[in-house]
Subunit: 421 residues, 2 copies
């Protein structure tokens, strides 16, 4: 019997609260099939680890440490923002990749990421056919943006959705308390450059008309200043306060991001980032209400302490399914989440071809957005609600989450050559 | 036997994740002593409710609803920012207050707030002696800023401390993952205009040299740009990334807030608030590192989902103790938290005179601040650590915390007069 081929696993793009749960699923499942999969090597900083022969030997980690990945946020092996060019455009990259894979007897390639990363995985899956190196390449879905196609939702999204809905509910209780003599407007900025899924999820905090957030600003809807100000004013007059959630990608009718709308520092440089203060200042200037604003930024996608139990389970399941697909010899695929029913929420694992996943962006459907453009519909709520169900608290030590830091022992290099990325 | 006098309870100043736990302590304890305390009336929006005869009848709330206050953030009866003037300066205010208290047969006055609020409580405590209306007035400590004197710590602080330490630990895991090809600097802005207690608490996330946050900027230390940039650069070169926590009150040697350092909008107005983007932009301009920044704002003080169990217990205990002090006839006092030992952490309830509490601000001791000014000492850690111990999760419904909204039924007005506040 031939020696079992080793596996390569890497994390790519922006990390999430549960991408390590997928890593846990990959490694634990591979360890159960030692006769068929040899060692799991992780790429240090994603695909860059493969190109530079900077591999991490996950067999040096205890079962307990790998188990702890399930409750640890961010990318335990390091991630990267690095997109491979096409096979014909930069053949040297692929030749180097093959050189490294060959040196370490790697026959399985798992790539955990969003749209760009699935494009990379797709290209790698072709090196068998086009360059003669036999590989089984399986993508593992991950993105807080929830914009991957085919899969019903993406691991990572459910937890950020839960975080933003919890956060705006809490902050709205706060501003409601203060509104009589102080703050009347609270603005919370969330991620979502192109798609408004995260901002939409904040809408789950509102159970009935008038509940916060009363206004959600989505990148799918061109910002209408007059309609916005009218709704803010009406909300304050009706509810006593107004809680606003704004997606970082909100733009005007000309496509100009609001976050770039004219703020300059003392040297005249345009200020980078931050649409929340722009919205808050607009409300102050035009309506003269006292405001507070928050920018959640990384806090939202790293918030493992308030992760969705559903999301954790799905992230783990995607890692596990990827290994199982590989063991079946399936190349150029990605496991998916398939929704069976809303109430009760039931889901199962499906499979998509990487060719159909790569570089396709799933936007919010028009019928998920309220007719006035400032909220979500019942249909959207029915889709989102299951994804934030359940709590999956990490263990705590001295009052803080006990997240694992792996040893990340490097695999001894076998190639004498360097490669510049 | 004379009819038991009614009690007035109100919330004042910025709210916290646990001020309602104090309200719960007051109301539950008062309900156990019905022969001695009649009804508990809450002021709608703090002292304003008393002045405008806008009282809430808490007897209309079920035991279950009152119990739920223990796990509900912010001020259930509404808070206010409103400071009473001195008895001689604005006698009309006090005469009106007495008129309302008399009309509703109120003999106990509980005021739940920070330094300014304890000043108000102190003034009210004097109306017996100076204006002849018999009252027992007890303050209940509350402030996220932890700047009340005499009490070892203030309810509300422990939970915000836990939130910021958890958040920076999580965000640091994120930026560490991204640092190879993307973000190297993460800046998180937290509250603390005059005292750096909250920013200091973020330091609990660092267990050993090099752990995040590597830099804490406190309002107690004048900002030294050169030393700061040197440390950022050195940290990135050593750790691969740098996590920075900045207090909103950070200022330069001339006392000028960094948040006011020259950002202007298109119309030339100074931009209000946000020191995190100022710090991030400085690092970008001078060191050219890619950055992300977050502003926690209300999210930090409303975050009941990650409240400290110790803080919740102390907040409840302060409410309970206030009623017990009142039943003993103690006027012009405030219950306090007295630390008995650090390891194991033991505390008990003490008592302070309002005259000694009002308008005194407790700053961070110099020996709590690291010699380079960018972190906390072991002594500071020993003080802070017990305050974030334990989790006290709220119940969840449909994936979100089930916070209570009270009915807040108004007490029928007995006075035909209005009072302008």
């Amino acid at each position: 019997m031939a020696k079992a081929k080793n596996a390569f696993y890497a994390q790519s793009g922006g990390v999430t609260a549960v991408i390590n749960a997928s890593a846990c699923g990959v490694i634990e499942t591979a360890r159960k099939h030692k006769g068929k999969i040899g060692k799991v090597y992780a790429g240090r900083n994603g695909i860059i680890g493969a190109l530079t022969e900077d591999l991490i030997d996950t067999t040096k980690e205890s079962a307990q440490a790998i188990r702890a990945l399930r409750h640890t946020p961010a990318g335990a092996f390091g991630s990267c923002r690095y997109k491979l060019k096409g096979l014909q455009e930069n053949k040297a990259q692929y030749e180097r990749l093959i050189e490294v894979l060959k040196a370490h007897d790697i026959g399985y390639f798992f790539y955990n990421g969003g749209g760009d990363s699935q494009d990379t995985a797709h290209k790698v899956s072709q090196i068998g056919e086009q360059l003669g190196y036999p590989i089984i390449c399986v993508g593992i879905p991950k993105t807080v943006d929830n914009d991957l196609p085919i899969t019903d939702n993406s691991p990572g999204f459910g937890s950020v959705a839960k975080y933003v809905a919890v956060s705006i509910r809490e902050a709205a209780f706060d501003v409601a308390s203060m509104a009589k003599t102080s703050t009347k407007i609270f603005v919370m900025e969330v991620m979502g450059r192109h798609a408004g899924w995260i901002a939409a999820a904040a809408g789950l905090a509102a159970e009935k008309e008038g509940d916060a957030p009363q206004i959600i600003l989505l990148p799918e809807v061109a910002f209408n200043e007059a309609a916005f100000l009218e709704k803010v004013d009406r909300t304050v007059k009706t509810c006593g306060y107004c809680a606003i959630v704004v997606s970082e990608g909100v733009h005007d009718a000309n496509g100009r991001f609001l976050s770039e709308s004219g703020l300059k520092d003392a040297f005249g440089h345009a200020q980078l980032g931050g649409v929340a203060p722009v919205i808050a200042r607009l409300v102050k200037d035009k309506l003269n209400y006292k405001y507070h604003w928050a920018v959640a930024d990384y806090l939202q996608r790293a918030a493992r302490h308030i992760a969705s139990k559903t999301d954790v389970a799905q992230a783990y399941a995607m890692g596990k399914a990827a290994v199982e697909l590989a063991l079946k010899g399936r190349n150029a695929v990605m496991p998916t989440i398939v929704r069976k029913s809303n109430r009760p929420y039931k889901w199962t694992v499906g499979v998509a071809n990487l060719a159909d996943v790569a570089n396709v962006e799933k936007k919010m459907p028009a019928d998920f957005i309220a007719s006035d453009g400032f909220g979500i519909t019942a249909k959207c709520r029915a889709y989102l609600e299951p994804l934030i169900q359940g709590e999956d608290y990490p263990p705590y030590k001295k009052g803080l989450p006990a997240y694992v830091k792996l040893k990340n022992v490097a695999v001894k290099k076998k190639l004498g050559t360097e490669f510049k990325v």
